[in-house]
C-alpha cells in the first residue's frame, strides 16, 4: 500500500517511516511542509496519507488546509490527520464532505503501533478513525440531546466505539460481545436516534458522526 507522510519533526518522521515500512507499507513521499504535501498528494495519489496538522512554513494548520484542498481536488482521497491536540472544529471540517476515508487522531496514538496501523488501514479502506477524545467532546456538546439520553449505558459504549470508526467485529472484540449482540445494539441505537439502518460499516459510522455533528 502506498503512503504519503507529512511531518516536520525529523525524529518523528523517521519513526513513522520505520513503523509503516515494518508493516508492509510503501512510503512514496515523506515531506515536511504544507506546499510539498499538497504537491505530493496530488501527484502521487497515494492509497493513504498520514499528515501532521502543524507544518511549516506558517506552523499553523498548514497540514489540515493542504489535506482539505487535496480532498477537494481528489474526492475521497484517504487521509489520516495527526495532531498534538484534537478539536471538534477540525473534525467537522474534515468530515464535512461526508465521503469517508478520514482519520483524525492524537499523536499519542502512534505509541500503540498495532492500533495505529489498524487505523491507517481502516482509513485507506474508505473508513474513518476518530480519536476517542474527539468523540468524548462530541458527546459532551450533545449532552442535552434528547435521543442520546434514551440510550442504555451499553448502547452508549457501542455508540462511542462506532463513532471512532470501528466495525461491529472490532467493537465486539473490545466489549467482549458476540458480533450479533453488537448488531442488536446498533439496531437499537439507530432506531432511537431515528437513523436509517445500513449494513455497510463505513456508512453507518458516517451517519452516526453526522448525527453528532448536526447540532
Amino acid at each position: 500500500m502506498r503512503v504519503v507522510l507529512a511531518e516536520d519533526l525529523h525524529l518523528l518522521r523517521e519513526g513513522l517511516v520505520h513503523l509503516l515500512r515494518a508493516h508492509g507499507f510503501e512510503v512514496v513521499a515523506a515531506v515536511e511542509s504544507g506546499p510539498e504535501l499538497l504537491d505530493a498528494l496530488v501527484r502521487e495519489r497515494p492509497d493513504v496519507a498520514v499528515v501532521d496538522v502543524r507544518l511549516p512554513p506558517t506552523f499553523t494548520d498548514e497540514g489540515l488546509q493542504a489535506s482539505l484542498e487535496a480532498r477537494r481536488l481528489v474526492r475521497g482521497l484517504p487521509i489520516l490527520v495527526l495532531s498534538q491536540h484534537v478539536e471538534q472544529l477540525y473534525a467537522r471540517e474534515l468530515l464535512a464532505d461526508g465521503t469517508g476515508g478520514i482519520g483524525y487522531l492524537l499523536k499519542d496514538r502512534v505509541f500503540n503501533g498495532d492500533q495505529f496501523i489498524d487505523a491507517v488501514r481502516r482509513v485507506a479502506g474508505g473508513g474513518t478513525a476518530m480519536d476517542p477524545e474527539v468523540i468524548a467532546k462530541l458527546l459532551v456538546s450533545n449532552a442535552r440531546s434528547e435521543p442520546l439520553a434514551l440510550l442504555t449505558p451499553r448502547e452508549r459504549e457501542v455508540l462511542e466505539l462506532m463513532a471512532e470508526g470501528r466495525s461491529n467485529a472490532a467493537i465486539g472484540q473490545r466489549l467482549y460481545l458476540s458480533e450479533s449482540a453488537v448488531g442488536k445494539h446498533t439496531a437499537g441505537i439507530f432506531a432511537k436516534l431515528g437513523l436509517a439502518p445500513s449494513d455497510d460499516d463505513n456508512r453507518r459510522v458516517l451517519a452516526v458522526l453526522a448525527f453528532l455533528n448536526s447540532r
Binding site: Q88, L89, D108, F111, N112
Partner: protein, 498 residues
C-alpha cells in the same frame, strides 16, 4: 422657544445663586487658608478645602444638568493610610509617632496643599460671581433692575426690563452654554492632571499584570515539576530497569516497557492541558474567531458565533479576549442555567468588541463573581472594559471592548490625488485671486494703464471685466476647495485615531 428661554433664564438665575453661595464659601475657605498659614492653625485647612470641594461638586452637577457638559473630577487620588513599621510605630519623615493620627493628617494636608486643583477651585469660587455669574444672569438682572426703578417712580425703568426680556431668547441659552465652557476649563482636569490620573491607572494595571503573571508562572512551574517532569524521571527509571531485565526475564522487561509507554502518554496529556491553559493551540493556528467557535462547540449549549474581523488582532489582546470569552461561556454553563448563547465578535476601527448573550436566569454581579473580576483584570491591562447587564430572570449580556486591538491603518507614504489637489489649491490660489484678480480690478478702477503681467489688461476692452471676475472666482474656488478638502482629511484622521 419660550420654554427654552425660560429654562435658560431659570438656569442662569440658579447659577447666579450658586455663584453667590460660592463667593461666601470662597471667603470662608480663604479665611481658613490664611488662618492656617499665617497663624499656624493648620487644622483649619482640610475642612475649608473639603467645603470648597463640596460647593464645586454642586457646580459640577448643576452644569451637567443645564448644559450636558460633564466636568471630570481633577483631584489627585487620596494618599493610602500610613502603614506601621514592624515595631508598631508610625514614621513620618524623620519622626516616629505612636499613633497614625499625625502622620495621616500630615499626609492629607500635603495631598490637599500640593494639588493644583485646590487652588484653581479657590480662584474660581472667588472670581466666579463677578465674571461669569453676572454674565449668565444678565437678562434677569436687567429686568429686575427695571422693575425696581419702575417701582421707585422712574418710568425709564421699562426700557431696562424690555431690554432684558428682548435679548433673553437669543442671549440666555448661549450664556448658559458659555458658562458651562468656562466652568469646564476652570474646574476640569488639566492636561497634566489627566496624564497623572492615567499614569496612576496604568501603574496599578501594571502591578496587577506583573503579579498575576508571576502567579501564573509559579503555577506552570509547579505543574511541570510535579507532572511531566516527574513522569519523565519515572519513565527513564522504568526503561533502565527493563534494560537490565532484558537478558534474564524478557517478559518482565516487556511489561515494564508497556508501563513506560503508558506513563509517557499520561505525561503528554498533562502537557497538553498545560499548553491549553497557556496559549490554546487553536488560537495560535486559526485566530480568535475559530478559537471561540471551537470552545463554543465544546460546551453543551446551543451556540451561535458571528465573527467580523478585518484580520488578526495583536497577539496578547487576542489571547485576553479568548480567555475572557471562555470564562463568560463557562459562567453561562455553570451559574447562568443557560441553554443558548450568542457570541458576536466585531470591530469598530481599531476597537475589538465581543458581545455574549445567553438566555439564562441572569443575576450575574461583577462585584461578587471572581470570574468577572478576573476578566476585568486581564483586559484592564489593555485598557479594555467589561460591561455586564444581567437583570434577575435574564438575559445576561456581557460586552468586552478592547481599544487599539488592530493597528490603525497607516496612511500610504505616496500622496493620493486629494493631497495633490490640496497642495495645488493652497500654493496657487493666490495667483488668480490677487495679482490677476483683485489687484487688476483695483488698477482698472483707478484708471491706471499698466499692462505688465496682468492678463486682463492684455485682452480687448470688452473682455477685461469678465476676465478679472473670472480670475477672482477661480481663486476663490481654489481656496474653498483647499479648505474643505483639508478639513475632511483632518476629520478622517481623527476618526482613525479615536
Amino acid at each position: 422657544m419660550v420654554r427654552r428661554t425660560l429654562t435658560a433664564l431659570g438656569g442662569g438665575t440658579a447659577l447666579l445663586g450658586l455663584a453667590l453661595l460660592g463667593q461666601i464659601v470662597g471667603l470662608i475657605t480663604l479665611a481658613g487658608v490664611l488662618l492656617s498659614f499665617m497663624l499656624g492653625l493648620v487644622f483649619a485647612f482640610p475642612p475649608a478645602v473639603r467645603l470648597a470641594r463640596a460647593t464645586i461638586g454642586l457646580h459640577r452637577s448643576l452644569v451637567l444638568r443645564l448644559t450636558g457638559t460633564r466636568i471630570d473630577v481633577p483631584y489627585l487620588p487620596a494618599p493610602p493610610p500610613p502603614v506601621p513599621l514592624h515595631d508598631g510605630w508610625y514614621r513620618d519623615g524623620r519622626k516616629l509617632y505612636r499613633t497614625p493620627l499625625i502622620p495621616s493628617f500630615n499626609q492629607r494636608l500635603n495631598w490637599l496643599f500640593k494639588d493644583p486643583a485646590t487652588w484653581r477651585d479657590l480662584t474660581f469660587l472667588l472670581m466666579n460671581l463677578w465674571t461669569t455669574g453676572l454674565v449668565v444672569a444678565a437678562p434677569v438682572l436687567l429686568a429686575v433692575l427695571g422693575v425696581v426703578r419702575l417701582v421707585s417712580g422712574d418710568p425709564l425703568g421699562v426700557v431696562w426690563t424690555a431690554l432684558g426680556a428682548g435679548v433673553a431668547p437669543w442671549y440666555a441659552p448661549r450664556a448658559v452654554r458659555a458658562y458651562g465652557r468656562v466652568a469646564e476649563a476652570m474646574l476640569g482636569p488639566t492636561r497634566k492632571a489627566r496624564l497623572a490620573q492615567q499614569v496612576d491607572r496604568l501603574s496599578a494595571a501594571r502591578t496587577e499584570v506583573v503579579d498575576s503573571q508571576a502567579a501564573e508562572l509559579r503555577r506552570i512551574e509547579r505543574d511541570l515539576h510535579d507532572g511531566a517532569q516527574a513522569r519523565l524521571v519515572a519513565i527513564g527509571m522504568t526503561i533502565g530497569a527493563a534494560e537490565e531485565l532484558l537478558e534474564t526475564d524478557p517478559n518482565a522487561a516487556r511489561a515494564l516497557l508497556g508501563r513506560a509507554r503508558d506513563a509517557s502518554a499520561t505525561a503528554l496529556q498533562e502537557l497538553r492541558r498545560l499548553v491549553r491553559g497557556i496559549h490554546p493551540p487553536v488560537l495560535a493556528e486559526r485566530g480568535l474567531g475559530d478559537a471561540v467557535r471551537a470552545i463554543a462547540l465544546d460546551t453543551p449549549l446551543r451556540t451561535h458565533v458571528t465573527v467580523d474581523l478585518p484580520g488578526r488582532p495583536e497577539a496578547p489582546i487576542e489571547s485576553a479576549a479568548y480567555f475572557a470569552v471562555s470564562e463568560l461561556l463557562s459562567n453561562a454553563v455553570r451559574h447562568g442555567g443557560a441553554g443558548e448563547v450568542w457570541i458576536d465578535i466585531s470591530h469598530q476601527g481599531p476597537v475589538l468588541r465581543v458581545t455574549t448573550t445567553d438566555d439564562g436566569h441572569g443575576g450575574a454581579d461583577a462585584s461578587r463573581g471572581t470570574g468577572l473580576n478576573g476578566i476585568e483584570r486581564r483586559i484592564g491591562a489593555f485598557d479594555g472594559i467589561l460591561a455586564v447587564s444581567s437583570p434577575p430572570g435574564g438575559p445576561t449580556t456581557a460586552v468586552i471592548e478592547l481599544p487599539r486591538a488592530f493597528a490603525a491603518p497607516r496612511r500610504s507614504p505616496i500622496a493620493d490625488w486629494r493631497t495633490i489637489v490640496i497642495a495645488m489649491c493652497w500654493t496657487l490660489c493666490w495667483i488668480p485671486l490677487f495679482p490677476q484678480g483683485l489687484v487688476t480690478m483695483g488698477l482698472k478702477l483707478a484708471g491706471v494703464r499698466v499692462k505688465s503681467w496682468f492678463l486682463a489688461m492684455h485682452v480687448a476692452e470688452p473682455f477685461q471685466w469678465p476676465v478679472i471676475i473670472g480670475m477672482i472666482l477661480l481663486g476663490g474656488a481654489m481656496l474653498t476647495t483647499g479648505v474643505v478638502l483639508s478639513a475632511r482629511q483632518r476629520e478622517a484622521e481623527v476618526g482613525v485615531c479615536a
